[in-house]
Amino acid sequence: MTETAVISDRRLERQAAKRRQARRGQAIAAVSTIVVLGGLATWILTSPGWPEVRETFFSWSVFKDSFPEVLSGFWLDVKIFVIVEIAVLVIGLVIALLRVSRGPALFPVRLLSVGFVDVFRGIPTILLVYLVGFGIPALQLTGLPTEPAVLGGIALTLSYSAYVAEVYRSGIRSIHKGQRDAALAIGLTDGQAMRHVILPQAVRRVAQPLLNDFVSLQKDVALISILGPQEAFRIAQIIQGENFNYTPLIAAALLYLAITVPLARVVDRMGGGGAVR
C-alpha cells in the first residue's frame, strides 16, 4: 500500500494541473464568446438602418398579433412533414432495394429505379413542386389528386425519396461482403440475407444521414407555399403584405427552428457512429 501513497502525490499534482488548465480554457472561451458576440451585436445595433429594421422585422406588437395565425398554419407544415417523411422512408427503401436487387428478371426495375433517382434528385425541389403542383391538375384526369397540399407533398416525396434511396443504398453497400456470404452459408435466401442480416446493419449505419435529410425536408415543406396552401410561410407572407412588416416571417422562422434544432441535436447525439443499438 506504500506504493499507492507515492503514486497519489504525483496524481494529486497532475489533477491540480489539469484543473488549472480547464479553468484557463473556460475563461478563454468565455472572453472570446463575449468579444465575438458583443462585437457582432454592437456592429448590427449601431448600423444606420437598425432602428428601421427593428421596427419592420422585430416588432413585438406585430409578432404578438400574427403569431397565432402563423402557428395555425404551421400545423399544416407539421402534418405534411410527418406524412411525407413516412412515405419517403418507405419509398426510398423500396427503390434502394430494387436498385441492389440481383437476377436478370429484375433488370427493368433496376433500370427504373436508377432513372427515378437520376431524375428526381437532379431536378431542383422547387421546380418539381411547380411541375407536379400545376402539371398534374392540368391533365384533368379523374382520380388524381388536385388538392395543392397533397400535390406539394407528392413533389417533396419524389424528391426526397430519391435522396433517401441513395442513403440507404450507400448503407447497404457499406456492409462487408462476408456478411452476405455468412448469411448464405447458413442457408438463407438472398432476400432473407438482405432482410435479416444486411438491412438491419445498413439502417443503423445510415440513421444519422437519414435524420439529416429529415431536418432538410422539414424546412423544405415551406416550398409548397408556392402552390397556395395556407401553411406557416404562406400566412406569414400574407400578413407581411397586408401591413408592410416582416415580423410574421420571423415568427415563421422561429417555428421552423423549434422543430429543426431539436432534430439537429438528436443527429448530433447519434454522432458516435455504429454504436446505435
Binding site: 462476408g178 456478411q179 456470404d181 455468412a182 448464405l184 447458413i186 442457408g187 438463407l188 446493419q201
Partner: protein
C-alpha cells in the same frame, strides 16, 4: 455401399486471368476429416467456397451424397442448408447476440420454431464453452469465443459436412486451443469435415487424411503420418520445411 458424403471431381476455377483451381479430385467419406494444407493462395479457401456454392466452378463436378450440386439447375440455397461453412474471420452478424447468430439459420432456413431453436442453440453454445455468453454481442466476445459461436452457428443446421476455412488463423495464439477443442469435439461426434488449416499438429491429430494443395492442384495426399512426416513430393517437403522454420509444424 452408400456414396461418399463429398466427392470432388476435376474442379477448376479461375478469377479472370488467375487460375486458382486446376483440377481438384477429392473424396470425403462419412465421419472422415480431411485436412487441406498448403501455402496462402494455394486455393484452399476457394475450394471450400466452391463446395458451399459461394463461388461458381468453371469445370468439373461436386457431389454431395452422390448427387451433383454444381449443376446450374440445382438450387444453391437447398445445398447450402445441407452444409456448414466456418470462415477465417468468423463473419458473425454483429447486430445479433451469440444466441441469435446461432438460431437465425435454424429458424429462417430450416423452419424450426423459436423455442426449440433457442433450446438447441443454448445447448450448442454450452457445448463449446460459451455458457452465460448467449446474450453477448460479437464485439463483447474474444476472437476465440467468436469463432466458437461461428462453429456453433455452422453446426446448428445439422449439416452433412462442415467446411472449416483457416478457423484459427485470425486468432491470438493463446485463443487457438479452445477453438481446436471445439473442432476435436465435432470430430469425436462423427462430423464429416474438410479442414483448411495451417496448424500441422492439429491436422496430424484430427485428420484422417491430409491433402497438400499447391498451385491449384492436390499434389500429395494420404494419412497424416505419411504426408506430414514422410512427404514424397519436393513441393510438400519445401512447404513443411518452411513451416518448421516458422515454428508452426
Amino acid at each position: 455401399m452408400s456414396p461418399p458424403v463429398l466427392e470432388i471431381r476435376g474442379v477448376t476455377k479461375a478469377f479472370g486471368e488467375r487460375q486458382v483451381l486446376r483440377g481438384i479430385d477429392l473424396t470425403v467419406s462419412e465421419h472422415e476429416a480431411v485436412a487441406l494444407i498448403g501455402a496462402s493462395g494455394s486455393g484452399k479457401s476457394t475450394l471450400l467456397r466452391c463446395i458451399d456454392l459461394l463461388e461458381e466452378i468453371d469445370d468439373g463436378d461436386v457431389f454431395l451424397d452422390g448427387e451433383t450440386i454444381t449443376d446450374p439447375a440445382v438450387d444453391p440455397v437447398a445445398v447450402r442448408r445441407r452444409l456448414g461453412l466456418v470462415f477465417q474471420a468468423y463473419n458473425l452478424f454483429p447486430h445479433l447476440t451469440a444466441l441469435q447468430n446461432v438460431v437465425l439459420g435454424e429458424m429462417r432456413a430450416h423452419g424450426i420454431g423459436r423455442g426449440e431453436a433457442e433450446e438447441r442453440g443454448r445447448a450448442l453454445l454450452a457445448r463449446f464453452g460459451l455458457e452465460g455468453r448467449e446474450h453477448d454481442r460479437p464485439d463483447e466476445l474474444s476472437g476465440g469465443q467468436q469463432q466458437r459461436v461461428a462453429i456453433a452457428r455452422a453446426f446448428s443446421g445439422r449439416p452433412r459436412a462442415l467446411l472449416l476455412d483457416e478457423v484459427t488463423s485470425a486468432l491470438d495464439p493463446e485463443l487457438v486451443g479452445d477453438v481446436l477443442a471445439a473442432v476435436r469435439d465435432l470430430k469425436v461426434a462423427g462430423m464429416t469435415m474438410v479442414i483448411a488449416t495451417h496448424e500441422m499438429s492439429f491436422a496430424r491429430e484430427v485428420a484422417d487424411e491430409v491433402a497438400f494443395l499447391h498451385d491449384g492442384r492436390i499434389v500429395e495426399q494420404g494419412p497424416p503420418r505419411q504426408v506430414l512426416e514422410a512427404p514424397e513430393r519436393p513441393e510438400t517437403k519445401r512447404f513443411l520445411a518452411r513451416l518448421l522454420e516458422a515454428g508452426r509444424a
